[in-house]
Symmetry: C2
Subunit: 277 residues, 2 copies
């Protein structure tokens, strides 16, 4: 019983979203394995086709689009206003985030020319809006954005070159409420995404205060709070909290998908189903 | 009465979304003009602040996001399934659209490296999905995408470097229903966008059949149909129609905004209001 799937079979099973148990199966002989593969592939293809037919006739809206809509509604209800900012940002705004050529993220940035790049994160744009809105709005200022971010990734099962980031922020809250607010934000997002039994990992830092990561097997979200060492560059002088989530990862965990590509913008997958079936 | 606004005044009035009548006003003297400007600017700033306060406390969702949601719901109801495809596309897929270095669009493409660019249109991705879905789905195949497209533009009042495109397509319909279907698609989008009294301009071509442009003062949408000379490269052999709209232009016309920037992803405007007020 020590014959495993061939690398090609294993790759195909992953594409077809076979369960981890299926992927780890072992066989007495190569022949029995190959018969089992044909059988399993046929079942998974039939399941995929059924899902796609259901998608064409009933659901008609990808999981990612539905999750965005549910998040917008839930966050609006809790008083958070949605903003939509450019995906093309300036080199200067990246530098103000301290993402310069010594920063690990720098090599992952897609450049359009010497002055402009695709945003690897939403934070610089939200900092920019905060500055204006502190003048125009009464605190607390509750904002969120859901938008595409870009990072050059090795494209493993957990990373995407373009992914959908949600950032929720609150600006102008009492210092001693920051930790609690981050926990509430995490709970709201997990509830909308339909994920329970997640873990919160707290890291305390003299400089940055407590930060909170949201984990369920993989990292789903991470947070920051201010006063923060970057605030001065952006003209921000009041306390804040912010938490960010990758929507494709939330869907991957909820749907028990075998890779994050199947949940993202894709030409190979539609609503989680591989199209070469 | 031949004193006009100074260029700086005129620019500011445009940013503040002053009506065309206001922008064309003439004065007896520079002094009277400058007094009128101060008065008008104060009124427009107050109006903008009021809109932003209403946005913070009530609406909480930008016009662009609301329009996207209404379009998705209306198109789903009419049987169109939503797809979400990558904004980073290959040089090869652009070439298959005949966008090579002789094509007018070519110089407007943002390149990431020698092989990849930001999509200037949704069509190549939709062609790719069509090929797979023709095998997997029963016709008619009704698809739409709403997503960001990118073009290097001179950034006048009608163009954006990044804008939100809606493409609605139907694949596998009778040849003689194509024209009618395009008119129905245009009518649906105009109805959802709240725009009436638009014009349809028909161009007939022996090669491409009828194409339809949707106009209201400016071009809002344009269409194509197949059999089309490009179909063969993509392996498409059945009739189709497709129509595309820029969502920011729909909002501009509906809201009577003075520039398309105020309706798009921005750091200078929030929900149509200039932030430096």
């Amino acid at each position: 019983m020590d014959i495993t799937w061939t690398p090609i079979q294993k790759q195909r099973l992953k594409e077809l979203n076979a369960s981890p148990v299926c992927q780890e199966k072992r066989f007495e002989s190569a022949n029995k394995r190959d018969v089992a593969f044909q059988d399993l592939e046929r079942q998974l293809v039939a399941k995929g086709r059924q899902h796609l037919t259901e998608f064409q006739n009933n659901s008609k809206r990808p999981l990612l689009s539905k999750l965005e809509q549910r998040l917008i509604e839930a966050l609006n209800l809790r008083g958070f206003a949605q903003v939509m900012t450019p995906t093309i940002i300036s080199k200067g705004s990246l530098a103000k985030m301290s993402v310069d050529d010594k920063h690990p993220l720098f090599s992952q940035v897609f450049w359009l020319d010497s002055k402009r790049c695709l945003r690897p994160m939403l934070a610089p744009n939200l900092y920019t809006l905060w500055k204006d809105l502190l003048r125009l709005w009464q605190p607390p200022i509750r904002l969120f954005e859901i938008g595409t971010c870009y990072r050059k990734e090795s494209q493993g099962g957990l990373h995407l070159n373009e992914f959908t980031m949600l950032n929720i922020t609150e600006l102008g809250l009492p210092l001693n409420e920051r930790r609690q607010r981050l926990e509430e934000m995490a709970a709201l997002v997990m509830s909308v995404a339909g994920i329970d039994e997640y873990q919160l990992e707290v890291t305390s830092s003299v400089v940055y205060g407590d930060t909170l990561d949201v984990i369920k097997g993989i990292e789903l979200g991470s947070s920051a709070m201010g006063p923060h060492v970057l605030d001065k560059k952006w003209g921000i002088t009041v306390p804040w909290v912010g938490i960010g989530f990758g929507l494709e990862r939330l869907l991957m965990v909820k749907e028990e998908a075998q890779n994050v590509q199947s949940m993202g913008r894709s030409l190979s997958y539609l609503d989680g189903v591989r199209l070469n079936i």
